[in-house]
Symmetry: C2
Subunit: 366 residues, 2 copies
DNA sequence: CTGAAAGCGCTTACAG
DNA sequence: CTGAAAGCGCTTACAG
């Protein structure tokens, strides 16, 4: 123990003063370590460690003194060293296969919102669910980086192979999906079904009776939820989705373009269509334009997501807004809280989409 | 040294066999460490460390044996432990303020392409250049994570405050920008000027003489490059950008919408416009549609970027394609190679955009 | 070309 | 409530 340390000990010292002296002596040449803090506060580094980790087993005065030192000299524990000792890093992984840039970026921003002010950083890991090394790669990533936890987004969040693997190696995770697929503390549910019901009601209330649907890629759970919700909404008005009016898309713009063209050939033609995402809806709008037809005069079009594309095209899309960034934040918060001792998960872990009305829908012409 | 270790030593042993025995004994219950490798290969861990770090000071036979052990038992050095000892992590940071999701995602994918097969992972760090804590925050991020290096994209890549800070703390970086702003090994140049020249030539060759320009946000270097390139391209055809035909946008869709409306009020009206990015070009197209005018009949429109929006709207945009993902890969490769001993940077560190012709441009009506 | 010792900055397991 | 010892899995600095 140094002279300074002893002094603190014996004379009930001004922690701030010794810390400021340390600052003056080092002037930012060296980042302080736990040893510096311990010495200045006149305690062992184990006690400093307890303060860092919020252990309740520390005398209040001791804690206050240590905290004063920490703040005054600007000590920040080295995440790498802590990680090595903990056998777990301070990195949160986002593993995803959703190809939509806006979804990915908004989700990242949301996760970072949830991580702000903590010691955690975000490591991104796009992947290919169809690769035969998909699980192996993910495992390798998680194990090598000793990730603190992982956030999974659709469609891989719906793949039990990956969650089985994560549980097996003891890695915490939170899944984002359109329905509850896991324990509450491991889920953020987006309730796409509710949003799709709103889309159906909107069209029904406008007076549409011949309504079509373009489905999303079947490997996404949301494709089913959005369809079911839409059918439920129609049913409230005594309407049914005729099998002829159900077209199979795969969430891409190109599939929307293609199915949009098919839509035009139906007899009698529908007066409105709900495409399970904005990309496909934009494809339908473009298909009509190419055919020289106008939206919504010839066909009302509703999308889902409310990504930028919805307002870039003309007419702008009536669509279902999903709060992607909020979802990301909730997922991060849930992940961190699942680690902490406070047992109970707070918040609902649910988000609800809502309809945004724009120019792509109107009452049917006839 | 264990019995196994000694055996290897004394009898010129089958490294594979002892490794397979180790596998059989442990069956994946425990990840092997450098100590396991050292023991099985009958060397000190320092020698194993030399092999991991490609030190030339290792006898070839020793190296081969160690490598056999490493591969057979599937040893992978712990990046966290290495990071602690190296005082530098195996994390590469991407620091950015570009708000375009597609740009961000493509850049991330490119960086990950460049990092694939290495021990490095990507940590993302969006930031706000206008915040007064911008530099401080970035410094904090880099220092706390002891980042191996950082990739900067526009517009913060053009801000010397951040590169000054990085050099001061000794953090490697690569800047992505439209012109060379730094030493070769620290730059990837996107040559926006060349792309804009192509846009000008295209319009001139179609016969346009009254050509307008919507500028990007002045705080982005690319805004100047794209304008200069465009003017140079026009000059090749004896054309000049009239001051009345230069409108100030800020790279957002909304600014394109706004300036597009102004464009229509010009007398005589231009027959073509080059908007400095796709978002603004899409805004111009929407402004015309709202005014009941057609593109390209009333006005030819050219964008820059070739992001998804270019093909989602109708008519689809003629635009300048910039290989964002390649740029990301090159930046990552350059960053890693600036670390290695092979002095010389390889590759040109330059990318060149090219024109993509679509339906938004045609010869002027009159 | 190789190795024994010390250390990176923390935490765990144990003792008091 | 607090601390001394050992350890996380590597590398540096030194010696031979």
């Amino acid at each position: 123990m140094s002279a300074v340390g002893r002094k603190v000990r014996n004379t009930a010292i001004d922690y701030r003063q010794v810390s400021e002296q340390w600052n003056a002596e080092h002037q930012g040449q060296r980042k302080p370590t736990i040893n510096d803090v311990a010495e200045l506060a006149g305690v062992s580094k184990k006690t400093v460690s307890r303060v860092i980790n919020n252990s309740p087993l520390v005398n209040e005065e001791t804690r206050d003194g240590i905290q004063t030192v920490i703040q005054t000299i600007g000590y920040q524990p080295d995440p790498q060293a802590r990680g090595l000792a903990f056998r777990r890093s301070f990195l949160v992984g986002m593993i995803y296969d959703n190809p939509n840039p806006q979804y990915v970026v908004n989700m990242q921003l949301g996760i970072l919102d949830g991580l702000r002010g903590t010691a955690y950083e975000l490591v991104v890991h796009p992947c290919d669910r169809d690769s035969d090394r998909f699980i192996e790669d993910a495992k390798q990533f998680v194990e090598l980086q000793k990730l603190h936890g992982v956030i999974l987004t659709p469609s891989i969040s719906e793949d039990d192979r990956i969650t089985d693997m994560l549980r097996e190696i003891g890695c915490a995770y939170v899944r984002v999906a359109s329905i509850a697929l896991d324990m509450e503390q491991r889920m953020i549910v987006t309730n796409d079904r509710i949003g799709s019901r709103a889309a159906a009601r909107h069209l029904a209330e406008l007076g549409h009776r011949r309504v079509a649907f373009i489905a999303g890629r079947g490997s996404f759970r949301s494709a089913h939820e959005r369809r079911s919700g839409f059918e439920e909404g129609l049913a409230e008005f005594g309407l049914k989705l005729s099998p002829d009016y159900i077209l199979q898309g795969n969430y891409t713009f190109e599939s929307g373009l293609e199915q949009g063209a098919k839509l035009l050939a139906l007899d009698p033609p529908p007066t409105a269509v709900f495409a399970a995402n904005d990309e496909m809806a934009a494809g339908v709008v473009q298909a009509l334009r190419i055919a020289g037809l106008d939206v919504p005069e010839s066909l009302s079009v509703v999308g889902f997501d409310d990504f930028e594309v919805a307002t870039r095209i003309w007419p702008r899309l009536t669509t279902v807004h999903s709060p992607t960034r909020d979802i990301g934040r909730l997922a991060a918060e849930r992940l961190l809280q699942s680690e902490s001792a406070d047992s109970e998960v707070s918040g609902t872990g649910q988000t609800t989409p809502h309809l945004v009305e724009r120019e792509s829908t109107a009452s049917p012409a006839s």
